[in-house]
Amino acid sequence: MDREDLLALFLHFLMLSTMAIGGTQTVMPDMYRFLVDAHAWISGKQFADAYALAQAAPGPNVMYVTLLGWQVAGWIGAIATTVALIIPPMVFTLMFARVSARNPDAPLGRAIRRGLAPIAIGLTLASAWVLVRSINHDWRGYLVTVLTMLIVMRTGINPLWLILAGALAGMAGLV
């Protein structure tokens, strides 16, 4: 990966991080589009693996962004995507937190939150879709997905146990 590609990677992730209102999972489909479809720097499988591994690792779920950078360009790639991820929240939080911390329920703030919430949901669904399309599961994989969803919603279980169970089920040849 040359310098121009690295800069493109940094700038694209910087832009996505700026748009990541409602959590970073909302911009995941566009990371996929950029890394896998547009540039073919990594495969869809690698992308899905990075996401799954970061969910299992201690730390915020968003660390898949670091792992993607690592897969694309090693240390420098990991630093590029991580720094790109950090800067926009820092800037915006420092700019707006002091102004609006006193009244987070002001009408405009509420309208923005209410308006953007459905979009965030649609985008999170798109993230799940993108992952599903890139891992090529058969019906057993879908069954595990549906079971996971039901268990998480019905119980307060720590998701880590489910990921571990998924890994074991996979190793046992069940998925």
């Binding site: 779920n61 911390a101 987070p104 308006g115 459905p118 990921i163």
Partner: protein, 194 residues
């Protein structure tokens, strides 16, 4: 924190006033939150910041989190930045960032190295396949939970489906989709506000 002596509104905070919190305390607290967070950090953020350290009241935590949802980036990270700034200025911001992202950064790179080395092993492949299926289920549970707290209104369905269709099914670039959908969605919410 007593910036608003004139309005008198900020002075009657029910916030417990802890002893001075330095950059190192902030770094350690957010490193603790972040690496305790297997499968999500929100639970630990509340526990450490509200229950253990008492840097925030319950109410304040909810308010800061709501504010974080308006801002780009992971919500707990937004909260980390606000707390860092509040207690130790820009040094506090850097400390919160280093604590929240620094240690997980190294951990995840370690995992990346192992992955590169053992990715091709069949056993690793099948473990990852199972983990991915679970990861998708976690995301879908997220979707369902977020959808359940929204009012059942045509707006919710229309904008949710359009966002999904544009970015997920059609794979259009996010910038374009958001540039069109976000203003419309906010305007609709503004018009329909009560």
């Amino acid at each position: 924190m007593q910036k608003d002596a004139k309005s008198g509104r900020e002075t009657v905070e029910d916030t417990p006033q802890p002893p001075k919190v330095g950059a190192l305390d902030i770094f350690l607290a957010f490193a603790q939150i972040s690496i305790s967070g297997f499968g999500g950090v929100l639970f630990w953020a509340r526990r450490v910041l509200v229950d253990e350290k008492r840097w925030l009241s319950d109410r304040e935590f909810v308010d800061l989190l709501a504010l974080g949802q308006l801002l780009p980036g992971p919500n707990v990270f937004n909260v980390a930045i606000m707390i860092g700034e509040r207690h130790a200025g820009f040094r506090g911001v850097l400390a919160a960032t280093a604590g929240f992202m620094g240690v997980p950064f190294l951990i995840v790179i370690g995992i990346g190295m192992l992955y590169e080395r053992y990715e091709a092993l069949p056993l690793v492949q099948s473990a990852l396949s199972g983990m991915s299926a679970v990861a998708v289920g976690l995301l879908l549970a997220n979707v369902a939970r977020m959808a359940m707290v929204l009012p059942r209104h045509w707006r919710t369905w229309v904008f949710g489906l359009l966002a999904f269709a544009g970015v997920g099914a059609l794979r259009w670039p996010l910038v374009g989709v958001l540039a069109i959908l976000a203003p419309l969605a906010v305007a609709a919410a503004w018009k329909g506000r009560r």
